[in-house]
Symmetry: D2
Subunit: 371 residues, 4 copies
């Protein structure tokens, strides 16, 4: 079975996320990076192609050139991976789908909910696979948590607390990664809520198996002069009546990438932390606490199939990311990959961002979340 061929859009010099996608895509040898438009600047695109060690002829200056050239090759790309800043997502995806290419995209899916709906239309019209790299749902123990909730191990979910603290934007937003994220023209109206809040949001629904139906949002721009939110509190209500809280911040000095989620039901509780991702803590109503180890004897098939090393040999962010690409590869091969975040997740995420921003601006209290 040959490796699938990937064309990358974005990921040029200075973008940390390009190499991350490349490593993740290739980790299981199901996919190979062969081409790309790594920058809208032709020279920078070429330079990036070189750094990725791909055929120089396949580091293209623009999308049209890439699509045409690759179509003409027998070994042309099978899909594109969009890793550029948010405002490029929709145009890139639209063009790729129009060229008959499946799309996997970094999140958030677009800059606005309207764009997301447009995107969903293109995906439906093209009838092609679409994947969204919500990395954290690729962690084996996140999938274990989901499976255990579905199996009723914590009973009826009553409460979900998800926190996503970061501190790297506590000062001035300096550097390529920071600048576009605090610029509404490139990131969309949401800052922190779109950049990391949407990850946290996705995780609550992914693990709990419930949908968020109502939210109360309080977003703030703490750093003087900042034009987008950098500190977010969102209260949640889920479809089954469960209560929830989502905290996301990029001004909490010293926090690195502290995503963590806790779910509580009437029979148990569960805790997972991204920075120590290889354990899952399980509590039961009778007072027992169990530690579940990645790749250990106590984990089920969803998690077991997504680890590559024995227990005690830590896997991390790149491996979780690779699991998303493995799911996407499976879909491209016509297999089932029900845990791959797709266009529905994209729509829900963008609805969440839009609703939160608007409700917060209006101090609107509780508002419904609808897609």
């Amino acid at each position: 079975m040959r490796r699938l061929r990937m064309g990358m859009i974005g990921g040029g010099p200075g973008a940390f996320i390009g190499p991350v996608h490349r490593i993740a895509a290739e980790m299981d040898r199901e996919i190979e990076l062969v081409a790309g438009v790594f920058s809208s600047d032709a020279g920078r695109s070429r330079a990036a192609g070189e750094s990725y060690r791909i055929d120089p002829a396949r580091a293209y200056p623009d999308l049209d050139t890439m699509f045409a050239a690759e179509k003409a090759r027998e070994d042309g790309i099978d899909f594109v991976s969009i890793v550029s800043p948010n405002h490029h997502h929709l145009p890139a995806a639209r063009a790729a789908l129009a060229a008959g290419l499946p799309v996997i995209s970094d999140k958030p899916a677009t800059t606005t909910f309207a764009e997301a709906k447009e995107l969903a239309g293109h995906v439906a019209a093209a009838g092609l696979p679409y994947g969204l790299t919500h990395t954290y749902s690729g962690y084996p123990l996140v999938r274990e948590a989901r499976a255990r909730v579905a199996a009723g191990q914590i009973g009826t979910v009553r409460k979900v607390v998800v926190e996503y603290p970061q501190g790297w934007l506590a000062g001035e937003a300096v550097g390529k990664q920071a600048e576009w994220r605090v610029d509404p023209a490139r990131s969309g109206p949401g800052g922190c809520i779109g950049d990391i809040g949407t990850h946290a949001f996705q995780l609550t629904e992914f693990i709990s198996g419930q949908e968020v139906t109502e939210i109360l949002a309080d977003l703030g721009a703490v750093v003087p002069g900042r034009q987008v939110d950098d500190d977010c509190t969102v209260l949640l209500r889920f479809s089954n009546g469960a209560r929830g809280v989502l905290l996301a911040s990029q001004i909490e000095v010293g926090e690195m990438n502290g995503l963590r989620i806790r779910l509580y039901g009437d029979k148990g509780g569960m805790v997972w932390k991204q920075e120590v991702p290889n354990t899952l803590t399980l509590h039961t109503l009778d007072g027992r606490t169990e530690i579940i180890h990645a790749a250990g004897t106590q984990i089920g098939p969803d998690a077991a199939s997504r680890t590559r090393t024995p227990t005690g040999h830590p896997e991390g962010y790149l491996e979780a990311f690779a699991n998303i690409y493995r799911d996407f590869a499976a879909v491209l091969r016509g297999e089932e990959a029900p845990l791959l975040p797709g266009i529905d997740t994209a729509l829900r995420g963008m609805a969440f961002i839009a609703t939160a921003v608007e409700a917060s601006n209006n101090r609107a209290g509780w508002v419904p979340l609808t897609v």
Copy 2:
């Protein structure tokens, strides 16, 4: 210098908090338990007196008898400690103050804000010391955190996140400790918000040096049939504009007494967790993380004066509690103890509970917090 003599009100058979107060009060040999009305049932009061090994003659059946008898003794009590359920707090404090006795009381100070204002009147009229046992502000590293914030180590406080998860009321409320806490007649209108939310609230103001000026409260009664809240989310705004979040819950299965607080400023961040109380984590904007150890070389006088063992020899809840009593003893001896929570803290705590309960019931959004 003789030991101060304490009369206890409440703390009878089955009340875990009575022995806790007794141990805490006596730990530094500044105070001695000598008398008490441990129960409104005379026989149970006597039995408790025996378990405390006090003079049987001084285990009284009611307050009036105690006050009269103790006044008549040369070695009569110097003050009372009120450790009974909330609805007894005001009557007991009123009677003690009327009898000329200083009062130290468990929290919350009363059942309602109106009662708290009445209490404040009695305290003012009596001109006697009043202390409130917000235990967690007795931890050495909480005091270290406060001192460091005051010294500007994290710069201007921008964000405070306090969480107080417990799980022990996730099922039916069974047993002496649980039953009165979920009965509004005895606990007051607040359940979780009064029992533990008020601790979390006090901690935010104690460490940050800021006052909460506005809140948005979302309290829920998750366990079917429960008449008071058991799960609380409260958004906070502080006097300097800082944002805050307070989470408290008693239905988070597996959580024990997980109080933790994080403060972030424009120069640094700080994290403290009650269940591992002997370390304080300090982050600086330039990316350094330092661990401050209780009784270690890096701590200042407020914390250093409140430890009893060398670094690495863990102190805990009882020692923190003892620090509150040490402060109270200092006040009784006419010394300064500016960190002792007193009647102002009592008023603010009860205003917080009342405001949160009312605002949540009315889905009122942001409301001012005034005393």
Copy 3:
């Protein structure tokens, strides 16, 4: 039931361990400090008595005076607690036993094994209780560990690893606590091995239920000019053939009081750490990991009877110490307290120190450990 009356020997100004014994002894109100010879200097003894708030008349200048005066009182002391440096232990205990007073003593029991044997003779001749404050065996979860090993939860014990790292003597030994510990005339021939190695040794036997039968010792004096060992490695063999390792050091910079022990059998494993004493980790051969919480629902009677606060309210060093005193009080009242370290433990500990020092000096390889 009246409180037992304690006379302290040692614990004068500057000795941190005196107040620790006082707090521990009094915590459960079974014992009361009423008298003492706190220093061989009469003035310092008086000053210490004042700081303990005891009757000034009962802060004595020497042992003979104390024993005579207390005997003459109706409310005279019931026992003595010896908390002075090691070289005072034997003379103080001998005198107390001769005066008909039970003894509880800090460890190590004496300075040499010969002295320990002499002490054992006095204890036997007097027919009086003798207790040794191996504090760490007073921790509830240490007792839980012992009970679980005895119940076969980890199967046949095969391996014990105990580590006791400290760093406070990594530089020059400065101050009252440090100076006598590095002076063989006062501490005995063992430095680190006697000060903390003996705690680690006691813990291995206490929890495993096995006796050490052979050792191989490698003691070093790392700090230039030091006259006693400050860094120790000792290999162990237990009576059932189990292997063991004991590491103790006082020159490991940054280590505070890092005592920890791990036991492995053919069915499971167990880990306990003094600096986070309120959890015990349990592993089973089939790959499960369970966290046992102090005062939680999963603990047995030995541990449950030795906690004073609900789960999540940390207890620490002082409470563990108090458990030793509670055992001793029980013995004085004629009750059973099988977990109290006594004269047999004293003998084994001193034999361990003597054997380790001699074997290390002689580079003797494996040698039997006999009492």
Copy 4:
């Protein structure tokens, strides 16, 4: 710059380490797996080739065939990676070197010290690069630790404690991974000491910058019937006089891959743990504790150049492994890679194993370690 082409020896169906080497080698796109003799069984070799998605024609039945066929290709392999059980290491390396191919090999380098010396002769004669995959020295924070020790941050190293507990061989040795490891014919005379003890040994020298000059070994075969050691204690002396302890075990039930190392000097101490590899703890003599984060602002060039994600995005075992391959690729390209373990490390490791096994068998006490 083209990718280097790797031929794998070993790594057939059921061998977890084959895919690990493949992922590690390819992670940075400097190397590509293109060929292999994955099993001595031709059919199994083909099947493995398919699972790796390489050209079926390049999954060879034996070494000679591979070397001949690859030599004949313009795009033939540039080097081999040996990932088979130990007894294949020498013959495979010898043949590869004879065929003019550089070698990177899993550890231990050979089964015996005599073999290692023979290997060293072949490497010297061939004048070709040789690398040894001591994975753990590829972790960024291990390199940070090494750099900090070299820079004098902990002063003169006085003490090194390395522990490598595992539990997976506590029961019967079942399965492909376990069986050969407990068979002296395939693993060599050392069991645990060779499988993991040698990693621990290498780490002590790598970080401390000192060589071990003397050892005292106590190896045991704890599981009944086991023919090689499964539990090891080795005392160490370093070239500068520093003391050391090495603990390795495969029968410590519940331990996964708990490698951890602590180094102490006269100015500071340092702690690193493989299972939480993205932090390094640094202690200073004046009582400060600092946490160093991988990819954080406080790390130096050796570590910074070996991370792929921002701080807080955990990297793990595969990334550390990839760092070894990146070093090896650098060497193949003629660049400097001074941290790559090579033939000298191989010789020292095999000398360590041989000396430890022999000294333990003879109960020889302290013996010199010479290469």
